[in-house]
Amino acid sequence: MLEALEGSQAIARAVALCRPGVVAAYPITPQTHIVENISKLVADGKLNTELVSVESEFSAASVVLGASAAGSRSYTASSSQGILLMTEVLFNISGMRLPVVMTCANRAIGAPINIWNDHSDSMAVRDSGWIQLHCADNQEAVDTTIQAFRIAEATELPVMVCMDGFVLTHTLETLEIPDQDLVDRYLPPFVFNRMLDPQNPLSLGTLVGPEYFSETRHLAHEALNQSASTIVDVDREWQNLTGRSAGGLLSVEGPDDAKIGVLAMGSVVSTFREAMDCLAAEPAKLMALRAFRPLPEEAIRSACAGLDHLVVVDRALSPGFGGIVGGEIKAALSGMKDAPQIYNVAIGLGGRDVPLEMWPRLLDVPKQGGGFRILDLEPAKLGEMS
């Protein structure tokens, strides 16, 4: 049944459908409504979970680490500075191969302090060994949240579901919350073979020296790479059940013979979908990159076949280098025969609005040429600020 729900409310409902044993979270804008809604579901008896209201994001991540190691399906959510405070634990969760799921309500990182949306936070933990999936709208976020538990538990890798702060978390959309029966069929109870159990005492998180460490890193890399097929399978199965795909690894829209493409992640994809429908612009392909980790190099290459120009949109940047997604796409396409010329821009930093009119501006980027830049920069303001 379709319901009009705020993004955060929808995520809380989706999490509840997954029957987590333990939820731990700490308030931070714009994630707060998720933990508030989960708390209300618990208070109203609609969600039976151990809700641990911790004293920091660091402890939120630590609590779900411990809970997962003890064999409970575990969930947390955060944003921005909270993600940074969790960082050390996030590396641990993946290093210990614990299937935790978290929502990252994407937000900029200070200083200067800014509570609005961009992708600086999840990018800062890009190398933490988590699967990172980006959502274009709230339906995708709901579906991805449910899929995330399947993916995590099948791969024993943690999954970060990235949804744009405010743009998605605080937006009321009409969407479908699946039935409990359907989710129960899709997501069986969590069984963890390495569970902490006095009947079968294991040591988890032991010291590994130089003689084995490289092998642990190799296995982590392999596991991330191999999770790509699980992400695809789990989404396909969801589509069979609900009729909806959440976007697999990468989804492509637009005419087959288009010579220009735009690759983006997150809610701007929805904006561009709308722009493609309602604005007159040259024919172009829109590539929605859902899986940023693992980065689906093969899928990206085949989506780029036949393109002359590819504009890669970043919602964060690496100062002193440029766009992060842009850099990765260049690497992914290097050596590709007839690879498109790649252009890289950042837009919508710290909540700067990305309007429909951004779409033709992006398609114009190849005509201007040049290297990485912040496309919606307002140079006149630089004078005021110096």
């Binding site: 044993g21 333990v22 731990a24 979970t49 151990e50 641990v52 209201s53 911790v54 004293e55 920091s56 660091f58 402890s59 630590s62 609590v63 779900v64 680490l65 411990g66 809970a67 997962s68 190691a69 003890a70 064999g71 409970s72 575990s74 050390e88 634990v89 641990n92 210990m96 902490l196 159990d197 006095p198 079968n200 005492p201 294991l202 040591s203 988890l204 998180g205 032991t206 010291l207 590994v208 020296g209 084995y212």
Partner: protein, 326 residues
């Protein structure tokens, strides 16, 4: 002596921490961890902060633990223990969770997570093995290092006499959380330590044990003197053994006769600079430390009545080996 005549061999005893780990000779922490896990029994799940205990017990692919054990980071032993406990509750399992950390991971970097765990009333026994400095990284001062002690980051010199600040009164801060039970214990008093562990294990709620655990390497005494040194810390009043219920002092281990702190200090290289003949500051700092011991004795009322050397409740009784200096 044949194996059957050895009373230890004839007494089957559960060991949570096996022999064969890589701790130094005379390691107080290894002894304390063995005593704690022995007393707690097999139905436990341990969490362990980063530190010597984690390093010397689990060089992969080996592990010295016979009970389930989880290590994550330096500062989150209490938080991962909270998560384990929440999961056990969610699953209806009843094993007791014991979180462990050194003084660095407890007094300093892990303090916030510990405070949160206590405030949320998780059913976890937190054990701090207090060896009064960051020993795993090579003897740096912590919030638990005693005043005037030498560490590699509080070295004595022309301008300094070791650590300038006081040992943090952690037990009082723990007491302020009004948890059901908190206590200090020492490896020199294993009976008392075991009793306190068992007491904590019976309580459904957060409990805390601070276990004084000498580090021969860091304190600068011979590995064979660990127990004597630990005992002197108690007998001088520098490390009082107390029990707190809901934040109130419930019992103390009385001192039948006070031992001057100099007798404790002079056995450890970390206090050697306090015995320099030609340095007036040395005398002053010794007096400071004596004053701290006197304050503890006064505050907790450690002066016991009578001097019956067979009374097992005193810190200096025969049953506990008698005064270390006799």
């Amino acid at each position: 002596m044949s194996e059957m005549n050895d009373p230890r061999a004839r007494q089957p005893r559960f060991r949570g921490l096996e022999a064969g780990h890589r701790a130094c000779q005379g390691c107080g922490e290894a002894l304390a961890a063995r005593l704690v896990t022995e007393s707690a029994g097999p139905d436990v799940i341990l969490t362990n902060a980063t530190g010597c205990l984690e390093v010397f017990t689990t060089p992969w692919p080996q592990s010295a633990w016979r009970v389930p054990w989880l290590h994550s980071l330096f500062e989150n032993s209490a938080a991962i223990a909270s998560g384990v406990e929440a999961a056990l509750k969610a699953q209806g399992r009843r094993s007791k969770v014991i979180a462990m950390g050194g003084d660095g991971g407890t007094f300093d970097i892990g303090f916030q997570a510990l405070s949160g765990m206590l405030e949320r009333m998780h059913n976890v026994l937190y054990v701090c093995y207090d060896n009064e400095a960051y020993m795993n990284t090579g003897i740096q001062r912590s919030g638990s290092t005693p005043h005037a002690a030498r560490t590699t980051t509080s070295p004595p010199g022309k301008e300094r006499m070791g650590k300038r600040h006081l040992k943090k009164d952690l037990l009082s801060i723990i007491a302020a959380h009004h948890i059901p039970y908190a206590a200090s214990a020492s490896v020199a008093y294993p009976q008392d330590l075991r009793r306190k562990v068992r007491r904590a294990m019976e309580i459904d709620g957060p409990t805390f044990l601070l276990v004084h655990s000498p580090c021969p390497l860091g304190w600068g005494h011979d590995g064979s003197e660990t127990i004597q040194v630990a005992r002197l810390a108690v007998q001088t009043g520098l490390f009082p053994l107390v029990e707190l219920e809901r934040g109130e002092v419930a019992s103390v281990m009385p001192l039948r006769q006070r031992v001057p702190v100099a007798e404790y200090l002079c056995r450890q290289a970390r206090f050697r600079h306090l015995f320099a003949d030609d340095d007036h500051r040395a005398q002053e700092e010794r007096e400071h430390l004596q004053a701290l011991a006197d304050y503890n004795i006064e505050r907790y009322g450690l002066d016991g009545d009578g001097d019956d050397p067979f009374d097992a409740d005193g810190a200096d009784t025969i049953r506990r080996g008698g005064p270390a200096n006799s």
